[in-house]
């Protein structure tokens, strides 16, 4: 049986401390150093900063404020509005990505000429830099010369060029579209791996019971893809919550506050208002929330399997 990214890792019982453990320590040391320096340290330092009223516009007036920053952040309605927008965006993005990923994986799971080429081409959105993705979609959504306007106009769906990114009711959806386009390949691959791991006997058994394609799909494929769905949903949610690049390139949080999500909120607070204390507090809250969320989701989905 082929192991894949979802197989539980086999754990062997630990032996007494001996030669094996010493060399293991040595081998793992560089990794431990890196992880400490780039993971544990920032978390600790970030927490430390968040206890101070550190504003770089007033470098001479830094004071220790205990948890004031956290109180201020959590009682700011703008913060919670940003959270709300992040949730909206993430739900849109994750659902679309998962559904599209499933459909494309179903297609690529079949055997037909040209499948290899399609799979290869599918990697292109995944490979391009997010900057290029942002610029590309910004150009497509452009209200004066963009391709979206042009195509809809030529096909007769609209009578005159419309404003897309500047329309507050559409902003999040449009950004989500750009985000999904780039994320779908990875989701597809993960689901495809899961599909390929489904033993053929299950399908054979279902056919014997007289199931058609749709019933096979519903009763064999979907349940067996449980772990894959879990992985895709968790991963994509993590990616959507933290996403920054498209918000910077396409709308800078606008128009008005329409796309002012939590990542943007932290950026503005830290690097535009230069309030590092509150920015660090926000970042810390976000990190804790993400950790908590992923733990909860994994436990829930893990129990279902």
């Amino acid at each position: 049986m082929t192991a894949n990214i979802l197989s539980p890792l086999r754990v062997q019982p630990a032996r007494r401390f001996g030669y094996d453990e010493r060399s293991a320590l040595l081998f793992v040391l560089p990794l431990a150093v890196v992880l400490f320096a780039v993971a544990a340290f920032p978390i600790a330092y970030s927490f430390y900063i968040s206890l101070f009223n550190l504003r770089l516009t007033r470098p001479n007036r830094i004071s220790f404020v205990w948890f004031d920053n956290y109180v201020n952040v959590l009682s700011d309605p703008q913060f919670w509005e940003a959270v709300q927008r992040t949730v909206t965006f993430s739900v849109m993005a994750v659902v679309t990505t998962t559904v599209l990923g499933l459909l494309i994986a179903l297609l690529l799971n079949e055997d037909f000429p040209g499948r290899r080429i399609l799979s290869a081409l599918l990697l292109i959105p995944w490979a391009i830099p997010s900057v290029a993705n942002g610029l590309m979609w910004k150009w497509i959504y452009d209200s004066s010369h963009g391709a979206l306007n042009g195509a809809l106009f030529q096909l007769g769906f609209i009578n005159s060029y419309m404003v897309w990114l500047g329309d507050a009711s559409r902003t999040l959806a449009l950004i989500a579209n750009a985000f999904v386009w780039k994320e779908v390949p990875l989701a597809t691959i993960l689901l495809l791996i899961g599909m390929k791991a489904i033993p053929a006997e299950l399908y054979a058994a279902a056919k014997v019971d007289g199931a058609n394609a749709m019933r096979c799909f519903l009763h064999v494929t979907l349940p067996a893809l449980g772990p894959s769905f879990a992985l895709v949903i968790v991963y994509e949610t993590m990616m959507a919550i933290r996403h920054f690049d498209l918000f910077f390139l396409l709308t800078e949080g606008g128009p008005g506050d329409a796309s002012h999500v939590i990542a943007w909120h932290i950026y503005v607070e830290t690097f535009r208002s230069l309030s590092f204390g509150t920015g660090a507090a926000m970042a810390y809250i976000l990190a804790l929330a993400t950790l908590g969320l992923s733990y909860v989701v994994i436990r829930i989905l893990g129990r279902r399997l």
């Binding site: 192991a3 990214i5 094996d20 081998f27 330092y45 290029a132 610029l135 933290r242």
Partner: protein, 303 residues
């Protein structure tokens, strides 16, 4: 399968394939098409889907845009009024390509140096805290990048290391090493323990076991790590935005982002720069496509 069922299957596959092709390629095709259009043509309504007067002027501007000396006499040469406008930061494109390349390659090498021994150890050597360390490794990636930026920025600034490639390389390790190690652990895991035991019987030390026996066998995952670490470093935007100030250390995504809001916007040039930016990663991804899946699946690479 009946002939009718076969036909509808074929039709369904064909339509789906075409739709998928459109979905994936249409935006890219438009990007490429726009890059070959002149500024005058690119603002047509409705747009010219294929350039009617294709020009390589935009690309030429990228490669020939260097510091030209400007005197009182020549100062109007690139006036928007006289046409042929190129953003003033265009000359930073090629140096930024170099920066991106240096950073990406260094990160890849470091990933392998750190990841291979660690992957081997965690997969093959039984030691206490093994399971915990695997989860810990994954957990570090749950923290959003923006939460890393704030402390890193202050720390790197206080060290005086802002605006250096070194700061980028070090922070990129944070976002690439965990997943690389995870890929390698998975792959090492899938190789039989007997190899390990046989090597030990032959008198190899752990290091020799790893380098002589296992390394040649884990090539697909090494390629996956190279590809993944290179792409992440090449494409990374937020950290580079925060840690680089001047062209001496700016990477490609930063310079490209700077074009969008230059005082006089040139759409065609931006599209050309975009094409330049996507070429290296896309080519890499297409060449090593099979290793991506192999890196995530540790079984035999089938068709």
């Amino acid at each position: 399968m009946s002939a009718q069922a076969r036909f509808s299957r074929t039709a369904l596959l064909a339509i789906s394939s075409i739709l998928l092709l459109l979905y994936v390629l249409a935006p890219i095709a438009w990007l490429v098409s726009s890059s070959f259009q002149s500024e005058r043509e690119i603002v047509s309504k409705p747009p010219h889907w294929l350039p009617q007067e294709p020009t390589i002027g935009n690309f030429a501007a990228i490669f020939t845009s260097h510091e030209r000396s400007v005197t009182y006499e020549t100062r109007r040469a690139t006036d928007p009024a006289s046409g042929g406008f190129v953003p003033s930061t265009a000359k930073n494109l090629l140096p930024s390509l170099r920066n991106s390349f240096i950073v990406a390659c260094t990160v890849v090498v470091l990933n392998l140096l750190i990841g291979l021994p660690a992957g081997y150890a965690v997969a093959k050597i039984r030691f206490r805290g093994r399971q915990a360390s695997i989860y810990a490794i994954l957990a570090t990636r749950v923290i959003p990048d923006i939460a890393l930026v704030v402390p890193f920025f202050l720390f790197i600034r206080n060290l005086g290391l802002l605006d250096t490639l070194a700061s980028l390389i070090v922070t990129y390790l944070a976002i690439t090493v965990p997943f690389s190690v995870f890929i390698l652990i998975n792959y090492f895991e899938s190789l039989p323990d007997e190899l390990d035991k046989a090597a030990r019987v032959d008198g190899c030390s752990r290091w020799q076991t790893m380098t002589k026996i296992f390394l040649p066998l884990v090539t697909p995952s090494i390629v996956a790590v190279i590809l993944f670490a290179f792409l992440v470093s090449w494409n990374e935007f937020l950290l580079a935005l925060m840690f680089t100030q001047t062209p001496q250390s700016q990477t490609l995504p930063i310079v490209i982002a700077s074009f969008t809001s230059d005082f006089t916007i040139s759409f065609s040039f931006i599209n050309a720069a975009g094409v330049l930016a996507i070429l290296p990663p896309v080519i890499l991804a297409l060449i090593f496509e099979r290793y991506i899946v192999a890196g995530l699946t540790v079984g035999a690479v089938k068709g």
